[in-house]
Symmetry: D3
Subunit: 248 residues, 6 copies
């Protein structure tokens, strides 16, 4: 089975890191294909970049030339998952929801520790729409920027551990979700230092995508995620634009 794991930002090194994390948990027969969006910001840290990433991820997946069995959107609290579900017949798994769903099997309440404070409301909104907020004790910001996570993993671990500790002690979280695709790889060190289960969204999403494929389940096409109706588009898709078409 082939699973596309799509980064939401255009920093190749993060795509690679996400790909490694995905591959580490994938089953023997699973091929992980990490993809970087055709356009967009080097890091996604707000609604503007996130909306841009939403459409970039969709175009990138549309332009992927080989067949695939599932798609993972590897951005925490980002827009776009519903669009992917519409345009694809294969299962789509968002890492925000994958992490929360998994955390709920491990403890009474879970918290998310993410990057910047401004990402918190986006994650809260995604969890609310996904119906996964009732057992969310808190979403906390470590204060690290997305790119800062890569530049200084030690500082990242320290900042994340500090917030995780508050989430456990004050908010009564029993599980921690690492709230950023870029945190892939930090899981083990965080577990070591907090003593509670730590869920990495990328790993969780891979297992869920594999499971859906194995069970022969995919997105319901009966209502919300029915295929887009035929439309006349103006100046779209980007593949008709020379500069971008050449990148595909």
């Amino acid at each position: 089975m082939r699973i596309l794991v799509v980064n939401v930002n255009t920093t190749e090194s993060m795509t690679e890191a996400i790909g490694r994390q995905a591959a580490a948990v994938a089953s023997p027969g699973t091929e992980i294909v990490p993809l970087t969006p055709l356009f967009g910001a080097d890091s996604v840290e707000g609604n503007y970049e996130s909306y841009l990433a939403a459409i970039a991820v969709m175009e990138t997946v549309r332009n992927y030339p080989e067949p695939f069995d599932a798609v993972i959107q590897a951005g925490y609290g980002e827009h776009g998952r519903e669009g992917l579900q519409e345009i694809l017949d294969v299962p789509v798994v968002d890492i925000t929801e994958a992490a929360a769903s998994t955390a709920q099997f491990l403890g009474h309440k879970y918290s998310v520790v993410t990057t910047l404070d401004r990402a918190v409301p986006l994650i809260e909104d995604r969890l609310k729409l996904a119906g996964l907020d009732a057992r969310c004790a808190s979403v906390r910001a470590s204060g690290m920027s997305v790119l800062g996570l890569e530049e200084d993993p030690d500082a990242a671990v320290n900042a994340i551990v500090a917030e995780a500790a508050i989430a456990v002690a004050q908010d009564k979280a029993e599980v921690i979700c690492l709230g950023c695709g870029g945190m892939a790889g930090l899981t083990e060190r965080v577990i070591e230092r907090t003593g509670v289960p730590v869920v990495d969204g990328v790993a969780a999403a891979v297992t869920i995508a594999e499971s859906l494929v194995r069970m022969g389940l995919t997105t319901s096409k009966i209502r919300t995620y029915a295929p887009p109706r035929p439309k006349t588009f103006k100046n779209w898709p980007l593949s008709s634009v020379p500069v971008l078409a050449g990148q595909a």
Copy 2:
């Protein structure tokens, strides 16, 4: 004061209809500027087109060459409002929220009557995120497509009235919101035939935008809608792409 009223689809005749509706309720000193997105679908009826519209509306507003005092996103249940709030310093009003906020001053419960059934979950999700769902009795689909509204207004009125009547009788709605930018102009006829107040989102949004400007209020920049952080973009913005840049 100048208010940009941005259509979410690329059908010029709908932009004009929305503009007329906005102008009809605007105060004497207000200039309404109707805008059609630079790219996207001729009608928005699902998440894919809606996400595309989100970014198209943002780019279109960014490319508008004159100063303006407020922006109205004239699409019902569409994505993107949070992005506009980030990139702009002036107030942003979404017609879905404008209609619901206004309806809540008029009755105990309100219902939304929209176009196709597939639009219902999108509107429900927008209302939930906006915290305007507690008094929403129902979101009902008239079965008319967005373009069908323009092609056959009589059939549209009939279909909308039929659902509005059920919303009032069964769901206990006391106010009806017309759930589509393209329904602008049908308000009076629907009021005539249902006997309950009918809120048009475009009109409601114009009065709210004017009010915010008059009170000197605009989007809080302290957290969720802080300006985007400086980023390096790949293949973006579209204005750097010759084909689209020529259209602007």
Copy 3:
């Protein structure tokens, strides 16, 4: 258009202050008529006085001899709005709801800063009934009494700013609502010192009332706010009582 702005307490100087605040934001063609209740407490700071104010406001409006286009109930978290909606054909706007509705267009979460701690549950209850609680980060008390606001505006500003700062930093509010009709006039100074948008309920209510009138919208009469059924009253209305009738 003529808008009655009804104070909930019987302190004339507060009526005047509220009237000035309303007039400052009103459109050129709008006449603001500030009214003091015919009976009741000099300040409303609890359920007993609030229920009394509810009926006093209704009687006062009923006794107003000229036609009018809308009514604003200028008390924060007070009882009575539903009764006014029943007995009147024109729009009724409560400042608690006007402020919250307006705040929701400006930020992800808002907080209310009010007078005494005992007013907090009343405001929370009003927001819950109005379906405007989902995005309310907190209702905080400044500890100032209603009359204290008038006696010592500098202390009031200081106390309000202190709580607003906590609301922003701890409760993650992005907008502050001034939770007392008597705070009318303090808005600008609070904005200056907090850096987040500050909504004055009286101003917000005036713009909403004007907007509803302009759109030709008024309270739905189909169910909850249908006109009172014909009744036989004992010892009522007060206008039949000489002492009060003479005051009208």
Copy 4:
């Protein structure tokens, strides 16, 4: 122990009926004192009359010349209970809340069957504020007016039974609350014909009031229901008005 059971409307025959119902369930040592408000409507069927009743009930209880141990407000879905809790040191029990609290011990979900459709939103609002709505399957209107209940008890029973049957079959209610003080006395006949437990709010309130007194519990005075602060009143209380003072 002496319990005041205060009717919300001024129809003496209903006060008597309520008093009989209360006395039927009262313990041997309990004296039930039925009271009719000093002023107000002959029947309460909307917010206007309900707000008037709120203040009338408070004045009536204040004017009661003997000591008492608890007060029951015998109106379904009416305003005012919070005010009584403020001005009194003894327990206050509202029949709407008494019935719902009791029903929750008897089945998974309960429904309320009330009089007119316009009373439904008032009852829903009271239950929501009381935190007793989560297990409320529905509030249904029998279509009988308050006075109609007294004029034609057989028709009342039929209408109530019809709605109760729908509540059980469709809304999955397992218990029925009789949603009107005026329904006191119909309980047994409704039980006979529906087969599910039927709770009369007056009876439930009497047992709860007695229980609170027996346990030495009364309203917390620490915050929401602290005694009213000293105020200067204009044209109030009514006892200073000759016409009403003579009635007391």
Copy 5:
């Protein structure tokens, strides 16, 4: 009337204490029968022991040889009440729900102070299922174990008072529920020291059980709590096992 008050743990001295507390509030004609489960843990402080207690309480009540009018399950936040309601025709009252229902008549918000931190989520879950969580300000742990309460009542009072004070000051609770059957008897001393009403679940349950019996009300048998269907059991009931049968 005879009311069985069933301890959830097998410590006889706690059964006696609970019985005394129940008897102290019972009406003259009420016989309180305290029962200790036939099997199970000496103290219940977690899900494992609680599930065991659930079935032990049911078996113990089934084996009680005399007729009875109501059953009280005297464990705070424990499993099993729904099962008792199924197998019995008489009313069943859980002390967790009895305390919360009673507290809601006394203040705007209530808090529960219980034993160990690990009991908190169990109590929160019970309140959520009972629909009694909306007005629960907090559930707080005193850190005392169940048996510790008995061994050192003074330390227990101190620990409970400390948490109650935080609940009142920070969580805005206006009423305190003593969240453990083993706290029976501490009520008065806690009231003395906190100044807010303190509800003991055992006392509250006795008055509610008596009230239901007096009103002729019992569990609805129409759906959720219909009698168990006829089943073939393997190795059950325990009364067929010699060792236990000998104990009954």
Copy 6:
């Protein structure tokens, strides 16, 4: 890896059916061990049997003599999962939660179709506690008893399909969960006839359990599911009782 899949009732043929369904989806290296409880009812259709099953499942797992990596509780809407999480170090997955969690990745809303009407409230309660109710459109009863499912699979399919069709058309479900462990094996036929994805809880639970093990995740032991504290038990465990001990 070895996964125990524990039936909640004592009907061996159902254990076998559940085991086959689990094995069908299990990964190559996974050994599925189906277990029948040591005691309890032949079918679980209510709270009494469910509570008994809760403790029976725990004892059965405790008595299993070999090491294992995860446990699946294969009963829909049953009690006991929290207890298993306490007494075990390996992941515990309940099929009710597994199905709902999986369904949420496939559509905007899901419905559960279960056996008897009396099971509906139990399932609703489990989903509420699990925080998986927000996107549950409905829980519907097919009217088939648990054993009836096995006796007449064709009638079962028909009854389930009929309710699923209503769930899709009226309740707007986009995914169906088969709400009974005994429905294992009917999945494919139901998918064929409804056109929407159908989730079997047993299959979903197996993939989730495998995923948790693969990621090295297990129940958080920090609070709610900490190991039981040391206790003195009376007449327990059953393994000390000769009759039952002989069965183990």
